[in-house]
Structure formats: C-alpha cells, structure tokens
Subunit: 318 residues, 2 copies
C-alpha cells in the first residue's frame, strides 16, 4: 500500500497546496512525498506516490477528486457505445510524468531501499469507469458483466493493455518490484472472478513477468479468492486482516510469497496491543522467506504517525 | 434477510407516507409490509418487518433515519461515561409493538408459512452505537475495543441482554425461528472476533436455545469467520456470495445448516444467468437437508421484482 498520505504532517502540508491530480502529475511533488516515509520511519522499501486511476484520464474519462467523495467520473462507461469512445493510451506520452517520478526517486534513493511501483488491476479500473466513482454494491459493474459479456471482456482488454504498458514503463524507469491493486475485487464471487476477472489479471502478469521483477497482487475482502488470485500469476499475494497469515499462506502454498496482514486500525490501539498483534503475525510467518510485513490495507488518514514508526521498529527488532 | 423493501411498489406506496421508525413501531403497518412478499411471490417463510436498531432508542440513543445516509445517532457512545448513561430496556414495555406485529402476522398467516423473527447481534448494535451510524473502517468501534476492553465487554453485555429479551418476546409472540444479524462483523479479524465478539453472541444463542426454535446466524464478508460463527451456537449459519456453498458447508460440518447464497446483484442479470446461478447453488447443496435457499445479503432497492419471483419459482421447480 502507498505509504505517503494524510497521516503525515509533511504530506498534509504539500497536499494543502495541490490537488490530488496535480501531485500525481508533477514528478517533483510525487517524488518528494514518495520519499517522506523513507526519511521519517526507515521502512524497507519506498512505494511510488501515484494513483491507480491516472490512465483513465488519457482514455477520455473526466476524472475529478471531490473532497469527501473521492474520485468522481462525469462521463462513465455505461454502454457498448461508451466503450468505443475510450481512446488507446500512449503511456510514455500521457503518463511520462510517472516514469520521471520513478527516476527522481531512484536517483535520490541511490539503492538504499528498493522502489515498488504499481497499477490498478483491470477489474478495479473498469469498476471505477463504469460506476463513475466508488460504489457500495457494484450493481452497474456486475450488470455490465452479465448483460454485455463481450463488451465487458473488450473493456477489460483495453484496461489490461494500458496496465501492462504502465508497469512496463515503471520497470524501465527503475522500479524494483510492481504491485497490482485489485481494490474492489472482494465484492465479486468466485465464479464471477474466474469468468470475468482472472483472464485479464493473468494476461497482465504474463506480460509483466517477462520484465524480471517481483510481482505482488493485492486485494481486500478476498479471503474466498486467494487461490484464484494466486493462479493469476503473481509472485506474492496480499492478505488482508480477515485471515490468519499462516492459514492464508498454507492455502497459497510455499511457492507463493505473502504480504500482510495487520489490521490498519491496530495502529490506533495502545502500544501493548500493537506489539502483541505484530509479534503474532511475525510468529505466524515463522521466519520463512517470502513474507513481506505490511498492513492488510492502506494507512488510514488519522493514524498516529508515531505508531507507524513503532510498527516498523518492532518488525526490525523481531 | 428482510424480504419487504423498496423494490416492491406496494412497499414504496406505504413508505412514502411513513418514516422508517413509524413503520417499525406501528404493528398494523409492520404486519402489512411483512405480508407483502408472501402475497406476491410465494416465498416459503415470512420475515418480520422490523429494524435491528430499534432497541437503541429506549436505551437512550437518539436515532434518526436520514434520507441517503441511513441511520444516524446524535449522541453516540464514545466513553465509559456514555456507557453508564445507557438505560436497561424493558422489551415488553418499550418494544411491545414488535410482539403485536408478530401476533398480527401469525394470525393472518394461519400457519400457511412460518414467520422468522430477528435481532441485531451485540457487536453490530455496539458498532452503530459507537460510530453513530454506518462506518467504512470502524475505527471508533475497534479503538473502543482495544483501549477500553472492560467497558467494551460491559457494553456488549448490555446489548446481549436486550437482544435475548427481544428474541424471547418474539418467540413468545409466535415466531417459528429467529435470526441474529451481525451485519458489520465481517470487518473484524479472527482474533478480534474470538476475544471481543464471540462470547457475547454465544451468550445470546445459549439463552435463546432454551426456547426451542431454530436459530440462524447471519453476517456478510465473513468467509474467514465461518467456524467461529458456528461456534457461537446457532443451528444455521448464513453464507454470503463470496464462497461456494459446498465449500462453506464443508467447513461448517454436517451438524450445521446453511443459508444462502446468491449474490443479490444476480437479480439484475438476464434470466439465463439467474437460472444458471440458482441451479448452481442448488446443485452444490445437493439436496441435503439443512439448506435454506436465500440471497447472500438483502434485496437491493432497485431490484426488478419479477426477477425475485422468478428465483422463488426456480427454487420451487428444482
């Protein structure tokens, strides 16, 4: 998960002067906030500051970040006709600022810690494009799947192509690993996943695998989808906090790494509770290679920054 | 899940003239809408029209239903002091209208189909009381757990007592089965569930078991909690659509029944897709006794009512 965010005063200071899209499209700003957590809490990797929805803009979708409502798209994809309207994206031209940010960050890091890049997964991008923003029940997305399966697959094909190009550009610019975020896929049942989601995520991982960097696959609310997500082909699967880490890892098997899985709300708890839960996760990982300690989802805006540092230190000490 | 709702024109007609709380506290109105699905779609059981938050009002919480925002509580429980303010509830006196509605419905049904009663689970009631409404991350609820565990358990003890009294009153008034709704519990990890939730749900089921009616335990997003929810003691555990029915049932074991598990959004799909998914669930249940066909969550407001009827008919034909 992206480490930079509203829980850090240094981030809020910059964010107060720039919109979300400005921060993502300005390489200097993106690089600066990417580096903030490295400077303040000695995490073992930097996570690129960016946004999964950026490629929707050059596709022709009118994306805005509305205070309190999150992303809003004024001209969502609701029909086969809308789908034809979507333009192919030349990532180097339209999203070249992301590669520039990667270069600035890796130059600044000078190999101290690796930089992890990321992109949204085809399903989650399609869901935003169809719903026009966040959604509680994903009714429009699922109706599109069920009513227009050919158009659905065409839409996810377009999304997959741009995701592959994004991750390729990030790797060429210097990221050491990539993460694919399927933020909303936990709303989908196993049969829908297999039919409507998996083929497209798999195509992304097949193409990106040729670049030779480790690939992480993240979702939330995905306890019922872990094996299918593994089958999409990543090296590491993210676990949220709804499953014990050892149980999740057993289901994935020893050839797949795991990332996770502290409940982000644990960071609001008293220190003894935080310590107990961090140690419990590390004990469940049992020192096996292939565990990336992380939260089970993003750092929440009001999180006490000292508790984030405390967790980093606990993991290092352990 | 409650069957009556905005997807039915007959319901919307009554709802246009009465607030949610008026409908719940007027036995004639509650009985009328409870019976609407029975008259229109030949379901095999009636589900009492009520609301899980009703007991919060006599406890002293100021509950309102705000159009678009759902339930809002103006004086939420945020401290040990707030907790002391909560009044014990005399269910017969304060919620006697629910028992009256049960009597009206069972009289009207005359044994044609059973009536299922319900209540909110202690955790979900506490979460609403603390957050003051719906919540995305349940930060306040979990902080309360972690920071004030004794007060947390005292709060859930109060909730459990009123839930037991509610279900007892419903059984005495004539319901044939009861359901405990833990709507928000899917946000809690397995360790938190065991420590902060399970003891209270278990106490409810232990007490209600003495009344001799079947007990159903429902949650959503609970793929990682099924065994723990079973251990709380219900006869039937609800499955949402995020797990294949046969896999969920295997995990629960043959001594526990299952309820579920069609994705509510399936009801927006073309008929051939609906039929395929309904048949798939019934095939996975394999004719074993102890399966209650149901959606994996409530009927969504815009659902085409003809598709609900179609599913009922499909199940009966099969």
């Amino acid at each position: 998960m992206r480490q930079a965010g509203r829980y850090m005063a240094e981030y809020r200071e910059i964010r107060a002067r720039h919109s979300m899209l400005e921060m993502c499209s300005n390489p200097e700003l993106a690089a600066e906030v990417t580096l903030q957590p490295i400077e303040h809490m000695e995490v073992d990797a930097a996570i690129l500051f960016s946004d999964i929805l950026l490629p929707l803009v050059p596709m022709g979708l009118q994306l805005e970040y509305v205070e309190g409502d999150g992303p809003v798209i004024d001209n969502p994809v609701r029909s086969v006709k809308d789908l034809e309207r979507l333009r192919p994206v030349d990532v180097d031209e339209s999203l070249g600022h992301v590669a520039s940010a990667v270069k600035l960050v890796t130059d600044e890091l000078g190999g101290r810690v690796p930089l992890i890049g990321f992109a949204g997964a085809p399903f989650t991008l399609a869901s935003y494009a169809i719903e026009g923003g966040s959604s509680r029940n994903h009714v429009l997305t699922k109706r599109f799947m069920y009513e227009e399966p050919d158009a659905w697959h065409a839409l996810l094909g377009k999304m997959s192509a741009v995701v592959v190009d994004q991750l390729t550009a990030q790797v060429h610019a210097g990221v050491s690993a990539v993460q694919l975020f399927d933020s909303w896929v936990g709303h989908v049942g196993p049969d829908d996943y297999t039919e409507f989601v998996l083929p497209h995520s798999r195509r992304v991982f097949e193409r990106v695998a040729t670049l030779g960097v480790p690939m992480i696959h993240f979702g939330v609310g995905t306890t019922g989808l872990l094996e299918s997500m593994r089958d999409a082909g990543a090296d590491v699967v993210g676990l949220d906090w709804r499953i014990p880490l050892d149980e999740g890892w057993r289901r994935l098997g020893p050839d797949t790494g795991v990332q996770g899985n502290l409940d982000p709300v644990t960071l609001f708890a008293p220190r003894d509770h935080i310590r107990k839960r961090v140690h419990d996760i590390l004990a469940k990982a049992d020192g096996q290679p292939g565990h990336i300690f992380n939260l089970g989802h993003g750092v929440l805006p009001e999180t006490p920054v000292d508790n984030v540092k405390y967790v980093v230190d606990l993991v290092h000490e352990y």
